[in-house]
Symmetry: C2
Subunit: 504 residues, 2 copies
């Protein structure tokens, strides 16, 4: 049926159009109905909501994102059709039943996801199926290829292209801001695309955005990398393996990370970005994505095997994820700590150790011997800092940036220890929740600075950490949460005394 376009100012999770009740009955739509909306060969899909007043008979009210998809204007005549239930829902059901999916089935599912043909219910069943029943290596490889094929790819004029990635979960992991300038300072190409925070307190893109622009086009990523060796860009601004972000839409509220989907998510984006060599950081620890060394090793093996099959040479490092990396957590806080490390200022040696080890692995993939030593040299000599400034400058930031200029939220509060002893444990999940309560990553200045880390001696009433926020009420919320969660556990050397202690 033909309907006239009308813009409506409304935003929802899914693509939405509003039709008049009578038109909906005429089209024969059932509940949760989906339609295709076309204008001159451009087609998109949307979920139908109905109204008697927001759309008159013969009208279709379109939200901004739907309008963009098909480049529609007010008053345009659009063709609206009820969409058949996508074929791929059959395959999703097969996966729920534990069947192995064919290459064809996987291609159909990913195409339907990218073309927005699946409803939330269908998408969630896909994610649930992969989580519940898993995928073998053949299926995972097909999934990677399907995810690459349904998006753009970067074709490089120069080679080789290096990359690194951390599968995340450990707070304060700002190592990309050290690795990229070190590798670029060695004359190698490392175009790093990063995500924004999904469940963390700040993704690498959120962190780097406090220093410079991260919304770059594919052309900019290519040019800057070929000129200065490195770039740190927000992956969401380019259309590399776009199905990934759509799948995350269902994974995030369920807090599930299907194993095969993690492998495919990382490798499809890397391959689409043109990476030929990859170093993976797999943090292992309680309350991170990978809680056991055994699971870490399984990831490492599968990353290496699958990479090889799609033409990427990958090395993996299992890293310590038992507490935050460095002292700073939160976008601006982390950017500042990374700059301090590049400036040679006092930062935890564990942060330097981790960054130079991983950067060294990349250097060795490029044929440089004693990679870690060379990475340390590039850091200590200030060459990495110079490179970082060039990158920041080319991405639109200030060439003369320094760590002292990074703006941190100006409301802060110290949290004190209520007892004397040693820091026995730091709960990563609690730290992330407190930092999110400060408004981060939306408020870039919100964060937390650890004054004590695991094993440190603490006096009673000595500060354990400081919380920062941009708004007073966010600070209060975060402090309240901190007092409730108690993320740092302090223990004396004597844990308990019983009347019968002497008998033991």
């Amino acid at each position: 049926m033909e309907l006239n376009a009308k813009k409506i100012d409304l935003e929802a999770g899914e693509h939405i159009v509003i039709l008049n009740k009578k038109d909906v009955e005429r089209i024969g739509l059932r509940s949760q109905g989906r339609v295709s909306v076309s204008k001159e060969g451009k087609t998109t899909r949307a979920l139908v909501e109905t109204s008697e007043s927001l759309a008159e008979e013969g009208e279709i009210a379109l939200t901004e994102r739907v309008i963009e998809d098909i480049e529609a204007d007010e008053g345009d005549e659009l063709t609206v059709k009820q969409t058949a239930r996508p074929e791929s829902v059959e395959h999703i059901r097969e996966k729920l039943e534990g069947e192995e999916l064919s290459t064809h089935a996987i291609n159909e599912i990913i195409e339907d996801i990218v073309e927005k043909r699946l409803s939330d219910i269908e998408l969630s069943a896909y994610v649930s199926g992969i989580y519940s029943q898993g995928m073998n290596n053949r299926e995972t490889k097909d999934l990677i290829n399907a995810m690459i094929k349904t998006g753009d790819t970067i074709e490089w004029d120069e080679h080789p292209v290096f990359d690194h990635h951390s599968i995340g979960g450990v707070p304060g992991n700002k190592i990309t801001l050290l690795i990229v300038p070190i590798v670029a300072a060695a004359g190698m190409m490392i175009p790093k695309t990063s995500s924004r925070a999904i469940s963390s307190a700040g993704g690498t893109a959120d962190i780097f955005e406090t220093l410079t622009d991260v919304t770059l086009s594919v052309e900019q990523i290519k040019n800057i990398t070929q000129d200065v060796g490195g770039v740190i860009a927000w992956g969401g601004a380019v259309n590399l393996a776009p199905s990934d972000d759509m799948i995350i839409r269902a994974e995030y509220p369920l807090r599930i990370d299907p194993y095969a989907q993690v492998l495919a998510s990382v490798l499809s984006k890397k391959k689409a970005a043109g990476a030929e060599y990859l170093v993976m950081d797999i943090p292992v620890g309680a309350n991170t994505k990978v809680e056991s060394r055994e699971l870490g090793r399984k990831y490492a093996r599968d990353f290496v095997t699958l990479s090889e099959e799609i033409g990427i040479e990958t090395k993996c490092a299992l890293s310590y994820g038992g507490q935050p990396v460095g002292r700073a957590i939160g976008p601006a806080m982390e950017a500042r700590e990374a700059l301090m490390a590049l400036e040679g200022k006092d930062v935890p040696s564990s942060l330097l150790e981790k960054s130079t080890t991983l950067a060294g692995m990349v250097l060795e993939q490029g044929g440089i011997r004693k990679g870690k030593e060379e990475a340390e040299r590039l850091l200590e000599s200030g060459e990495a800092l110079e490179k970082m400034k060039q990158i920041i400058d080319r991405q639109g930031g200030d060439l003369e940036i320094s760590s002292s200029e990074v703006e941190i939220g100006n409301h802060s509060k110290d949290i004190y220890s209520t007892e004397e002893g040693y820091v026995d444990n730091i709960n990563n999940g609690h730290i992330i929740n407190i930092v999110r309560a400060t408004g981060a990553p939306h408020c870039k200045g919100g964060g937390l600075l650890l004054k004590k880390k695991k094993g440190d001696k603490v006096e009673k009433d000595e500060p354990l950490y400081t919380i920062y926020a941009e708004q007073e009420n966010d600070l209060e919320d975060a402090v309240k949460m901190a007092n409730h969660l108690k993320p740092l556990q302090v223990e004396g050397m004597i844990l308990e005394k019983h009347p019968d202690l002497k008998k033991v």
Copy 2:
């Protein structure tokens, strides 16, 4: 935060409220955010959509169903809070991981479903988990109890209460319209609540609605049953095990029927309606819910066992589901055929056979010997017809109703056989799709009348069946689909002739 209520004329699958963009940022809502909306102790949940104009700052636009939930009026001050991610999502994840769920976990999931705390994504993950990993009998029993507990129950003043149910999937299954009056005519109480069509061409409630009102209150169900012995009411109008309808919201688009959910769906509704004795019809056949006799037997065993545990005595019959029951499919068509059977007019003997056998099983549960014979007697004597008229009358219909007055769609077309032979197969799924294309169950007069059934001899150009519709264009759609799907397969006695036939 406090916001002022404003009505908005919009309908969607989920509960929806529209907030101003600035308020959404202030509340700190993330994508797919959900809020609780309260007025004086009444609370509901809704999904947030945002706008800059449909809701001003300080306003909340509410859809009709949200308004009903909390009895809000235009201008009311409502308390709006971001809802925490429901605890039960953890349990849904456990099920996806293959774990057995505790009683507590199952109660939490069902409560969250009934309280509308789960998003489509979360609900779909629940259904996917049960489908993918199953539930043992202990979990299923807990599920039944949780589903009963979260809704109303009917308390009867008289006993015993009988019931019957068909788990469906076979088209034309209008047997309830025979069983209820037969059982009631025997002086027993059989209050039957039925669903509307989900994936079929017409549920029992849709069918009976062509003869009388089916939207009855619990009081009406009780009174009519205690007065005349039987009732056929729409289950959706009463709040018996309401979680069932909400779960179907996710099952229907995925076309999955998790085994444990089927058991729980039936038994929770029966127990909530106060049934003490139950006869189950389990049709077995290709393109029905139960495709093998083995699965049918498993259902039968589990229905009997679980019923016993919740205090219902159940008997099951596996019935022939290899083709439609009777000749008529579609709401008005089926109502007419059922009335014809009660009036003693010519209907397929298989319909009578099935109805009297199942009605006989109910009679025997009530202590009547030779139940089938007694059922046949009640049917042939006209006592069942008299009882049916009383029921129709008491539900608000015409006491003097007769089959000749039932209105069928007045656009019709015969479909002819293109060859000579025997009807070898009738595809249930295709029949349902054709009838749905006529506009049924929404258009009650749409339907299909089989002139030939399995095994019947057919001449070339002889009519196979007639399609009826209320609208000419619906008829055309249905005829087009019929010509495409060819639901009746006609085969000659010689299937193929090859050049080498003689060698075989």
